[in-house]
Amino acid sequence: MNIFSDHFLLLQVIIPLISALILALSTRKILYHLSLLAIILNIIISIQIFNKSLDHSIIYQLGNWAAPLGVEYKVDTLNAIFLLLINIVGLAGLFYGYNSDELNAPKVKANIFYSLYLLCLTGMLGIVVTNDIFNIYVFLEIFSLSSYALVALGYSRKSLVAAFNYLIIGSISASFILIGIGLIYMITGSLNLTDLTNITESRSNSSNLYMGIVFIIVGIMIKVGLFPAHNWLIRIYEVTPQPVMFLVTGLSSKISLYIIIKLFYKVFPISILLNNEIGIILKFIAAGTIIIGSIFAYMQKNVRTILAYSTITSTGYVIASISINDKQSFIAAILIIISDSLTKPVLFLFNDNYKALMAKLNNEIKYCYIFNYANLIGFPLTLGFISKWYLLSSLIYSSAWFLVVVVILSSVMSFMYMLKIFKINESKIDNINQEQPIFILKSKIIITSLTCLNLTLGLSSNIIINYLQ
């Protein structure tokens, strides 16, 4: 056991990577189960990591090369939460897509789908476990490249165009990030994040360092679809095929947000944000994103588009809290990310199968439906409420009054478009084949389990908050 437990951090990346390779090479159906197995194994390991990280942060040196030279993996409380989140949502998504109609279509090579899915997860997990800024870039590319291919899986003309857009935009943002990393390396001579913290402490007024950070921010902002570069993301959300929905709507932009959070709260000294205009620019962009997101969400007629704009709004919330950069806003950012990535995929799922799920008068499914929307608007006792509470109070503490007003207005708007979604869903015409008892059962399991998780986290957010502090 000891051999395993020493390598837990590496295993998080290795297990899905190797399974992905196996799946890519073989077309045997029995091997498809491997994909589920790999993620379940990963969840078990990430729970172990979570338990361990309660005491102290876990450090793993790849190939026993010491830190500044070799690559280092490091997990503390922030990373452990993200590991769990990615694995859980990833499992739910794979379970949902597993053996679904889209994959059984004649044109599709199902083994490639599973392989790409696992590769995508590998990239995400890698970004979270690694403590090396260049490694983050590498994993970001792994995750992005596989998600372009996954979006194209829809095979419709629209999804191909969207995937192509995704590819172009993703490459542009990746090059921005790469240039940023290069600049930072030029100044500090190190890629290790712990090392960077120590070095930048003394050189926080260097303009090249500042430029590097700006490049990274711009790159990531294009990637998460912040105002004014949000249009392409909406199109992706509209056409994403169902098996990849959880990955795209629940996780992909959250991972990029994780990078910003990690850099701002854990790596670079706070003075960089406070002394320069970055904070002000971030506030401006956040306000723009929130305003555009909520107004456009209300104007749409398609539920998927509404939800897509709502996702952009919550990304805006996260950026708003990052721009404050204090303890409260850190908690707010994490809580917003958790609640959004647990809620959004479920809402997309509900939207796509509304009639089929609501066909039989099934009360617990109805409660889940209402609960998830309650979470979206921040109804009391949900995770969404606690996160909004923390966001607003940190904004008030730092007297960012304009953002306070924007956030309040957008939460009113979110309530308005929720009513609109209810109305649209009620009038939906039944166009879904209802002869899919297994599919319905599967969706029910996913919905109820994610909702229960969300509910428990909302009621016990005390634990998360204490854990983060």
Binding site: I377, I386, W389, I396, I408, S411, V412, F415, L419, I465
Partner: protein
């Protein structure tokens, strides 16, 4: 479960509730404050309860009126909704009562807010009970106004309070350590955030919610929901800001004046709108809007005496309005009429109901022996010698005049017009007669207990 067993079980439940509320009150008088923390959802954010006189009084009022309304609805619902399964309806009513108890016992603003919002949800489902197009529309308006205002003003106000003072627990003497300049803006945020007080321009949910069955309108829209709004304001004034601090603040600012203008406009506009109504229920709804703002008007004086007057007005109005709603329900049950123009000469057919209506109307206008006189008298004396009291006096006199005219229009129609020939009459059940007699007696008896109530609060 058959409808009979269900009715009896709920009746027993409500009797037990009344008894236990009285028990809690005696407990409070003998042993002092009791408190309980259910769950702590985040640092400093607890769901917890505590007893205090104002909340206990509110609980007593809600539980007694719930008991009476239940007796009434046994007659009413079984007459009008024979074919529909009513268990969901009664469950929702129980939930609503639970939520208003939660508001009554809340020991901090978060708990208050949580139950306030849950009450909105429960009553929304009561409004859209047995849904049709009209009810769904009313339900949407209801949710939009109540949720919209609480998301836009109430929640931000709570978070502002928390950020400035670090505490949202109700404490006698307030949580503010000094008279800061933000008190005024925060108070206005609370005032407009709690749209359950139906202050203009956030009032239109109340008339549209009148599509609900009579017992729901009576219990929820004359007692639980709107009174929860007033109660929240009272609790915030006493335990968050503290009356003396607000008074101190109001000395050097226009806060009192602004609230008086808002409340005064509400009272007068709502009364004029009531004058224009033909439907009895709509008339009662607009009259509720105007009467609720009396309490706000009284609060705006910011003295202890005035707050007590507001509390007393809240109770007296609850009992009077519920009587009027029962009377409207009786008229509808007996003759099938809902409009003022259709009820000419009806007093000869249902004399008991119309006498009860007369007593309720007298209380609304403020004529002795009804308790409405006493409550208006208290507001009047509280305003005596205060700055800007002419607004209060003018508003009181003017609206008494307007409400006299709209009630006398109805009563004249009922008593002195000729009875129409084609009216078909259903017999009113014992339950409906009994409960309306009970409430109209309560209106008069409240005068006797006024002194006890006041001494209990102070």
């Amino acid at each position: 479960m058959s409808s009979k067993t269900r009715d009896i079980i709920i009746l027993l439940l409500s009797i037990i509730t009344v008894i236990s509320v009285i028990n809690i009150i005696f407990n409070y008088l003998n042993h002092g404050k009791a408190s309980l923390t259910i769950i702590s959802i985040a640092p400093n954010l607890n769901i917890s309860f505590a007893t205090e006189p104002l909340g206990l009084l509110f609980m007593l009022m809600v539980s007694v009126l719930w008991l009476i309304t239940h007796i009434y609805s046994i007659g009413y619902m079984n007459f009008h909704y024979q074919k529909i399964d009513l268990s969901k309806f009664y469950t929702l009513i129980l939930f609503s009562i639970f939520c208003s108890f939660g508001v009554a016992l809340a020991s901090n603003l978060l708990t208050l807010f949580v139950f306030y919002e849950f009450l909105t949800i429960c009553t929304y489902f009561l409004i859209v009970f047995d849904p049709d197009e009209n009810k769904m529309k009313a339900g949407r308006i209801y949710l939009t106004y109540l949720f919209g205002s609480s998301l836009a003003f109430f929640l931000p106000a709570i978070i502002l309070t928390y950020s400035y003072t670090g505490s949202i627990t109700f404490t006698y003497g307030g949580v503010f350590s000094e008279t800061s300049q933000y008190i005024g803006i925060m108070f206005l945020l609370y005032l407009f955030g709690i749209a359950k007080t139906a202050i203009i321009p956030l009032h239109s949910w109340l008339p549209s919610a009148m599509v609900a069955p009579i017992p729901v309108s009576a219990l929820l829209h004359a007692v639980a929901v709107v009174k929860t709004g007033i109660f929240c304001i009272l609790k915030i004034v006493i335990y968050i800001f503290s009356v003396s601090r607000l008074n101190e603040y109001a000395q050097n600012s226009n806060l009192s004046l602004i609230i008086q203008i808002v409340a005064g406009t509400t009272i007068i506009i709502a009364s004029i709108l009531a004058l224009a109504q033909n439907s009895i229920k709509k008339l009662l709804a607009y009259s509720t809007i105007s009467q609720l703002s009396y309490s706000i008007l009284a609060i705006s004086i910011f003295t202890k005496k005035a707050v007590i007057a507001a509390v007393f007005h809240m109770i007296s109005h609850a009992i009077s309005k519920i009587t009027l709603f029962f009377a409207a329900g009786n008229i509808y049950t007996a003759t099938g009429k809902t409009d003022i123009s259709e009820i000419s000469g009806i007093a000869k057919i249902i004399p008991v109901t119309m006498i009860a209506f007369l007593i309720g109307a007298l209380s609304m206008i403020g004529i002795p022996p009804a308790s409405g006189f006493l409550s208006k008298f208290y507001i009047f004396t509280a305003s005596w010698g205060m700055k800007n009291n002419y607004i209060i006096i003018i508003v009181l006199l003017l609206t008494s005049l307007i409400s006299t005219s709209y009630f006398s229009k109805l009563l004249y129609n009922a008593y002195f017009e000729k009875t129409k020939e084609d009216i078909s009459i259903n017999k009113l059940s014992f339950y409906m007669q009994f409960s309306i007699i009970l409430t109209s007696l309560a209106i008069i008896l409240l005068n006797i207990f006024a002194q006890h109530i006041i001494s209990f609060i102070s």
